[in-house]
Subunit: 131 residues, 2 copies
Amino acid sequence: MERIPILKMGDFLLVTIQVDMHDRLVTTLQDDLTLMISRSGATGVLIDISSLDMVDSFIGRMIGNIAGMSRVLDAETVVVGMRPAVAITLVELGLSLPGVRTALDVEKGMALLRSATRRRSGEADDGRDEG
Amino acid sequence: MERIPILKMGDFLLVTIQVDMHDRLVTTLQDDLTLMISRSGATGVLIDISSLDMVDSFIGRMIGNIAGMSRVLDAETVVVGMRPAVAITLVELGLSLPGVRTALDVEKGMALLRSATRRRSGEADDGRDEG
């Protein structure tokens, strides 16, 4: 099982992190995800970390990087399902995940993405086409 | 990471299988899932196996059992994301997954569940309350 599945749900992509991440798996995930955003035109990415009961700076950086890549591809990132202990660890590690939104569960995350997308599409309609 | 996360999406529950399953993990998943169906009143369960590139009779039986348990709790099960090679192996193993519906991806699976639920709720309204 060498790659993390990315599930398409309407305009959003859902990634569930369940396994221990290592360098190569992270690279594969970033490749797959960016490819899938550009192919599907997804406007949001949900990263579910509810099965992680620990994070380290590696995972924190990975989430930040994914959010950055998604943003330049015109998709918002929401991290969902964070456990209380993980929140404590992240702040203690000095990783406040700037630019990453969070929500308690997938449903709330999708609602957040929907309202963010609606607001954005009100501001500008075709930001994706300028590249 | 000792349990598989179950994500609630509207009336349905989504389980993504990513890790190698062993006896205890399967038991935990069945406990969690049945508890979550009865608590949330979910009417459908989606099992995503897109990251499995192999199945054995153990996994096949697990899927069948989960479908059976869900059914007695009044929820339909749909297996999504099956790879072609997995379909071949399942049939070669003699596991045709009776009583389990399948769909190519999560979106199609949710559409299938929605139509099945609608049809069922037309037939009988309160089957759940008779126990």
